[in-house]
């Protein structure tokens, strides 16, 4: 076995790995994470955001290790939690979450019927396949341990507090990425007091369901700071307009590359059917290989080449329309809200063609030499959620210790959280297109020009 290692990290200082953990980090399937950027093309807005899944994973591992000590886990649970933290992002594909979206679109759900429900995420199946089949991981950890890791990551294993460390409203993943993404983006929104938060973590002894994560009353303010960090970073970084556009451009490049350009390599990378050959190919891809391969000169004239080159040269699609869902014609709202779901693929293309026509009828040229410019008109629906609704890991039910009384919940104890959560979130609908303008006045004119025709097209779409 390897010697223990220490790795220097700008967020947490030295990260210490045991011999076994150092061997996992040295495995090809882990080293591959060095080539997958944490925030895809967020560097087009925040140039510093070039950090990768590799250092994030080490950070999650470090925070998990601290939490194992805070919760006083035994040796066996500590090993399981630390290894699970190291392997939690192992299934990420090029550009992280962009690949997740593409996998959802192209998965062969008939062949996967026994493994999925309507809520299943395909990338989680890819992660499971990797943990089950990667020879190096099996050699290092054994199938039994990898099975336990899979269970902890997907459904929970042992006491609920173990799962809270790897997945939940206060998991190590969020604790690292808020601090790390803030640091690399150069924004100050994601800052919170990690040490104070950890100091105030506690465990509720639930005799029925097992030990559960709890915070002390003194931890309420640190938790409020954590929630605000998540809120601000989501608004300023994760939901930034340009970031939304670049993610959509990448997904569109993949979709058109498979469906219109018929690039076999893209199909092999994203048409998941559960066959073991899929992950064997998948683990050889990262961001650079993706851009080199699909933005290559040999593919000039293809949609995927065009979209890759636009990203490389920062010639992005522009947002020509953006409105709250509740001001759109009533007859189309629900359809629009779910328009980006894989099951709505045909309807989405129909709407995009209609909107492309509406934009062109205003005398606005779609700037592309490709055969069907409407393919580069992209609709998107997204939510700007209220603080308490930012993710499916909401903080409201986190337990707060109340001396000798029964525990309360964070929502009951935090006036700030309650008042913030009284403001409802909102959903938006946006249209991106290959148009150009030289200044803000031209931009405003263009957006004004297309507003009515787009609303009219949406109403007709709702009727159809």
């Amino acid at each position: 076995m390897s010697e223990p290692r220490s790795i220097r990290d700008p967020i947490h200082g030295f990260i210490r790995l045991s011999g076994e953990e150092a061997e996992i980090v040295a495995a090809p399937v882990f080293q591959r994470l060095r080539g997958i950027r944490q925030l895809a093309f967020a560097n087009l807005v925040y140039p510093g955001a070039l950090h990768t899944r590799f250092e994030h994973t080490l950070g999650v591992f470090h925070v998990s290790s601290l939490l194992c000590k805070v919760f006083d886990f035994n040796e066996e649970d500590t090993r399981l939690v630390r290894l699970s933290a190291l392997l939690h992002d192992i299934g990420h594909g090029p550009f992280s979450h962009v690949s997740e979206g593409a996998l959802d679109i192209f998965a062969d759900r008939d062949k996967l019927a026994s493994r999925i429900t309507s809520e299943s995420k395909i990338h989680e199946l890819v992660t499971q396949d990797l943990l089950r089949t990667d020879r190096e991981l099996i050699r290092l950890l054994g199938e039994k341990m990898l099975g336990k890791i899979q269970t902890l990551l997907s459904a929970g294993y042992g006491e609920p507090v173990l799962r809270s460390v790897v997945s939940g409203p206060l998991d190590a993943d969020k604790q690292d990425y808020l601090l790390r993404d803030s640091y690399y983006c150069g924004v100050k929104y994601g800052i919170f007091d990690l040490q104070q938060l950890h100091r105030e973590f506690s465990v509720a002894e639930d005799r029925i369901d097992g030990k559960q994560l709890m915070i002390t009353p003194e931890g309420v303010h640190a938790l409020e700071q954590f929630v605000l960090a998540k809120h601000y970073l989501t608004a300023q970084v994760y939901n930034h307009r340009v970031r939304r556009i670049t993610d959509q451009m990448l997904v569109r490049g993949i979709v058109l590359g498979i469906e219109e350009d018929q690039v076999d390599e893209l199909s092999r990378l994203y048409c998941y059917d559960g066959h073991e050959d899929f992950v064997k190919n998948y683990v050889h891809w990262d961001d650079s290989r993706f851009m080199l391969m699909f933005g290559a000169e040999s593919l000039r004239g293809k949609y995927c080449h065009d979209l890759c080159q636009r990203l490389i040269q920062r010639r992005l699609l522009k947002q020509v329309f953006n409105a709250k869902l509740n001001v759109l014609p009533n007859n189309c709202r629900e359809l629009i809200e779910s328009i980006t779901k894989p099951t709505k693929k045909v309807k989405r293309r129909g709407l995009e063609k209609k909107l492309a026509e509406a934009i062109q009828n205003c005398g606005i040229k779609l700037q592309t030499n490709l055969s069907d410019p409407s393919n580069l008109v992209v609709v998107n629906s997204y939510a700007a959620k209220a603080v308490k609704e930012l993710s499916r890991n909401d903080e409201a039910p986190i337990l707060v210790r109340k001396g000798n009384d029964l525990p309360s919940t964070f929502e009951n104890e935090s006036d700030l959280f309650r008042s913030l959560s009284s403001k409802p979130g909102e959903s938006f609908f946006a249209v991106y297109a290959p148009v150009e303008y030289e200044n803000k006045a031209q931009k405003r004119n263009l957006q004004k020009k297309v507003e009515e025709p787009i609303l009219k097209a949406l109403e007709e779409f709702g009727d159809g």
Binding site: S118, D209, Q212, L325, E337, E389, E411, S427
Partner: protein, 198 residues
């Protein structure tokens, strides 16, 4: 079961089946929990000190608000001595929400009628308040996970271990609820099926 429906569709149809409104977040969560058990659908419930909780259901409720289908009004604020929120939020479908629920019931006819049956069963099993429903939910969650055969006596015996201050009347009502919804019988069947396969 229809394949394309989402958790949000289930929440919408359940609200409609309960007459268009549910009073209190706890009540909403626990009712959805029992619907998920009776329909055998995964709505993302996981263990919590105060009974099974689903962040996915909470998120679906938010989405229904975004769409203008649901009003969430704050009806006074308080926490009882046991740590439960007291009727802070009332959820009610708007006219648009009612119309959308009718459309969904038509689109997902099988799901709609199964939800209707489950909700009637829950309603007929006793008019439980949020506390009694939480007791029943937590007890059932525990037994289901253990795949253990359960009787009213065993469930009653389990409840004092919750650590909550519950009265014998509340325990009795929760246990009768589980019996009337046939969930205790379901536990027995699952247990036998499990033993047979082992």
């Amino acid at each position: 079961m229809d394949s394309e429906h989402s958790i949000r569709d289930v929440v919408l149809l359940v609200l409609k089946a309960f007459g268009g409104s549910i009073r209190g977040k706890t009540m909403l969560q626990k009712r959805l929990y029992f619907v998920s058990v009776l329909l055998d659908v995964d709505l993302g419930f996981s263990p919590h000190y105060y009974g099974p909780y689903s962040a996915a259901v909470a998120s679906a409720v938010s989405e229904l608000r975004f769409l203008g289908y649901l009003n969430e009004s704050s009806a006074g604020w308080g926490v009882d001595q046991r740590g439960f929120e007291v009727a802070r939020y009332d959820f009610s479908l708007t006219d648009e929400g009612n119309a959308a629920a009718d459309l969904k019931a038509h689109k997902f006819a099988e799901l709609g009628s199964e939800i209707g049956r489950a909700v009637r069963l829950i309603q007929q099993a006793g008019d439980l308040n949020y506390m009694e429903l939480s007791i029943a939910a937590k007890a059932y969650f525990a037994f289901k996970r253990l795949r253990k055969e359960a009787t009213i006596a065993e469930i009653s015996g389990l409840m004092p271990q919750f650590g909550w201050s519950v009265s014998s009347g509340e325990i009795q009502k929760a246990a009768v609820f589980l019996e009337k919804t046939k969930l205790i019988a379901t536990c027995k069947e699952q247990s036998k099926a499990h033993d047979g396969g082992a």
